[in-house]
């Protein structure tokens, strides 16, 4: 196939120049019906914001240009087939889980997954078997899944239908994907990979192994994160063992029937760009990231970690494009550094948690911005560093799972103040966003440690969410 082609993009270009008269939706009719929006986004953009029609195919039932674009993308990623997703990688992760599991089926996964995976369990009623991720105590972060933990979980739950792996984690930590695929397949389990932060594994050189290369059955890649497509666009990849027609049905249960062609064409064009220029793009990103890491470590006080944390177990490999920086030795929580960077220096990083900040380095970065980040970190150290005793040292608490997420979510419940909820079973999520990894999920017992963690995170300025109570002061717990 010719990776220079971009069939959706080409069809939209033709559609635009054909000057078709529209008596269909969208009602803005190429922007004429909403002048302010057109002035803001540009006429070209509004003119290709069209509905499904013969010339541009239909995402729910692709037979022409979308099908061609999907085939090209599948080839580019080394997958048997793929789907373009317009409701984010969240929808892709949910489609993976719901394709693999029905109500009552077991799925093995690490607890430090994104909320989207546990949301899928609330919807479909599958039962999670959590594998404890490794913990790096120096950094206070959860790591990947160790092979021995997975073997243990598989041995204890031979009836599980799938293993879900989060690879790489937000911080860039990779598990031994090849080995996990081998274990899963040996026990007739599908291996699903949340690869939201790993699009570049398919295109860069000397990257950790990608899910499709490792032989995984399905993988969700956030093209919009490091692949250059528009926010909310994503790709679901499928391997050999997957019934793609069933997966399409699952996707169509919840997917819009008015998929945005802005998103679809952005996936098409981003795939083309990655196929043609990916090596160079990610070579530059790695170089900038490594440079920044060396300079930051040179400053002292900060620890920008990299491949030295590899232990061939819970940290099987490390994604060097991730610039995660531990701030604990400065006596500052990551979220505090995050806030100072944005408020005082006009620098927005991806997230700050209790001990770290994460900067995403991608195709769009230049030396100047990297210098600004390094210099601002230098200044923050000079101006704000303090004694680090009393700093909270971890971001992961092993859960005590009492009920399935679905059972707890739909049970009879009552609201209590979080501070008085010790020992109760939560019906809700609580998470800091980003990164969106639940501190508490439905069906888990609330402990003093969790309450202290939530209180501390709020004090430090984390944006907490998940509960019905927008202020995250009360939480719904199960009636007992």
């Amino acid at each position: 196939m010719d990776q220079n082609r971009a069939p959706i993009f080409e069809a939209l270009e033709k559609q635009r120049t054909d000057r078709i008269v529209h008596f269909d939706v969208p009602g803005h009719k190429g922007g004429r019906g909403n002048k302010e929006l057109t002035a803001f986004l540009g006429e070209k953009c509004l003119k290709v914001d069209v509905n499904s029609m013969k010339s541009v195919d239909n995402l729910n039932h692709p037979v022409s240009v979308i099908k061609d674009a999907l085939d090209l993308a599948a080839e580019a990623f080394g997958a048997k087939s793929c789907f373009f997703m317009v409701n984010g990688t969240t929808a892709a992760v949910q489609a993976m889980v719901m394709s693999a599991c029905k109500a009552g089926d077991k799925i093995i996964m690490p607890r430090n997954v994104h909320r989207s995976a546990i949301n899928a369990l609330v919807i479909c009623g599958a039962i999670p078997v959590y594998v404890n991720p490794g913990i790096n105590h120096r950094l206070g972060i959860a790591l990947g899944m160790s092979v021995s933990e997975i073997e243990k979980a598989v041995g204890e739950n031979p009836d599980a239908k799938a293993i879900l792996v989060n690879n790489p984690t937000y911080y860039g930590i990779c598990s031994d994907l090849r080995k996990i695929v081998e274990i899963g397949h040996r026990h007739n389990m599908l291996v699903l990979v949340d690869e939201a932060h790993g699009t570049h594994f398919y295109f860069g050189e000397n990257m950790p192994v990608s899910a499709m290369t490792a032989g995984a059955d399905m993988a969700s890649v956030s093209m919009h994160k490091t692949g250059g497509s528009l926010t909310q666009s994503s790709i679901l990849l499928c391997g050999q063992n997957v019934n793609v027609d069933y997966v399409r049905q699952i996707i169509n249960l919840t997917q819009t029937t008015s998929a945005s062609y802005l998103l679809l064409s952005s996936l098409d064009i981003a795939r083309k760009n990655l196929s043609l220029n990916g090596k160079e793009i990610f070579r530059k990103a790695v170089q900038l990231s490594n440079y920044a890491r060396d300079e930051i470590n040179h400053l002292g006080g900060y620890y920008a970690f990299s491949k030295e944390i590899i232990d061939h177990d819970a940290v099987y490999d490390f994604d060097v494009t991730k610039l995660a920086i531990n701030t604990r030795d400065l006596g500052l929580a990551g979220i505090e550094v995050y806030d100072i960077l944005r408020d005082d220096y006009g620098i927005q990083v991806e997230f700050g948690d209790l001990g770290n900040i994460l900067a995403i380095i991608s195709a769009g970065d230049r030396e100047m911005e990297i210098e600004r980040l390094i210099s601002a970190l230098f200044e923050i150290k000079r101006l704000y560093a303090k004694d680090s005793t009393g700093m909270y040292d971890h971001n992961y608490i092993n859960p005590d799972v009492v009920y399935t997420p679905q059972r707890a979510f739909y049970s009879s419940k009552r609201a209590v103040p979080i501070k008085e909820s010790n020992g109760k079973i939560s019906c809700e999520f609580v998470m800091a966003y980003p990164p969106g990894i639940p501190i508490l999920a439905p069906g888990e017992r609330i402990t003093v440690e969790i309450i202290d963690y939530i209180t501390y995170a709020k004090e430090k300025g984390s944006l907490l969410m998940g509960t019905q109570d927008m202020r995250v002061e009360n939480i719904y717990v199960m009636e007992e």
């Binding site: 006009g346 030396e367 100047m368 210098e371 600004r372 390094i374 210099s375 230098f378 200044e379």
Partner: protein, 282 residues
């Protein structure tokens, strides 16, 4: 035949200079560099379409950016100049025999090369033995320095393009760190007149003010810059630019200037009400 160079001072205001010859036009890694020979202003250096200097009025800018801090602290021995590839600021500094070292950090070597070739009026002193030229990003250079300089002069381009990071809070903070305990920072501070320049000016002032205990503004009239009304920033850890001026000492140097004098020095810190208001609201 008529050949005109035109700079857009705003979207709706143009400034044109009749050109005799174009002497150079190159695209560097960072910007487009042009040199024109003009009838009225002599040689004109243009970066990315913006006039950086003309032979006829560069003395105003270069005298004002150097002699003001030198009169406040005539003991200055070690100076860091950021930007200044044309060499004009260096030329003025080399007139002080007691200055021991001048480090100049210019990101774009081609600017220096072209000025040496075509505009010796400003570039002639770049070879002074006290001058060390570093071709790198100013922000990167300054962050590794601590308690080293008596004076930092930021002779930058506008805050859009390669000079953007020289208008940031992290840059001013790192300059503070690089200065000695009685150090002074002087910077090209944009213009208060047209809206976009004024916004850049306000932001720069607000950031400098948050870093330095003394942060004042002075002005000069520079005919070829947008609106002609141009500002400089004087920030320091200790000295007030008027109360601490050493008039006698500076005048004893006997440096012959075309624009600057110690009377003008004091007057240049008296600024119009609308500029005061902009600074108060920064």
């Amino acid at each position: 035949m008529e050949l005109w160079f035109t700079e857009n001072h705003t979207e709706n205001v143009k400034f044109s200079i009749k050109v005799d010859k174009q002497l150079a036009s190159v695209e560097s890694e960072f910007q487009r560099i042009d040199v024109f020979d003009s009838y009225e202003f002599g040689k004109v250096l243009v970066l990315d379409g913006y006039v950086m200097l003309t032979e006829k009025d560069e003395f105003i800018y270069h005298e004002m950016i150097t002699h003001v801090p030198m009169a406040v602290n005539p003991e200055i021995k070690k100076v860091l100049v950021i930007g200044a590839g044309d060499g004009g600021t260096i030329r003025e500094l080399t007139r002080y025999n007691h200055i021991k070292a001048i480090d100049m950090v210019e990101i774009d070597k081609l600017v220096v090369d072209i000025c040496k070739e075509h505009i010796p009026q400003t570039a002639s002193k770049l070879s002074d033995e006290r001058v060390n030229i570093f071709y790198e990003d100013g922000l990167k250079f300054v962050r590794s320095k601590q308690n080293e300089y008596d004076l930092i002069i930021v002779d930058s381009t506008d805050p859009f393009g390669p000079g953007e990071d020289l208008f940031t809070r992290e840059f001013y903070g790192n300059c503070y760190k690089a200065l000695k305990e009685d150090g002074i920072l002087v910077n090209q501070h944009e213009s208060p007149y047209y809206k976009n320049d004024a916004m850049a000016m306000q932001k720069a002032h607000q950031r400098i003010k948050s870093v330095f205990p003394v942060a004042r503004i002075y002005q000069a009239h520079i005919p070829t810059y947008p609106s002609g009304h141009w500002l400089f920033g004087f920030a320091s850890k200790k000295y007030d630019p008027i109360a601490d001026i050493k008039e006698e000492k500076w005048n004893s140097f006997n440096i012959k200037t075309k624009y600057y004098n110690t009377e003008l020095h004091k007057g240049s810190f008296a600024i119009p009400n609308y500029v005061k208001e902009l600074l108060e609201n920064a």
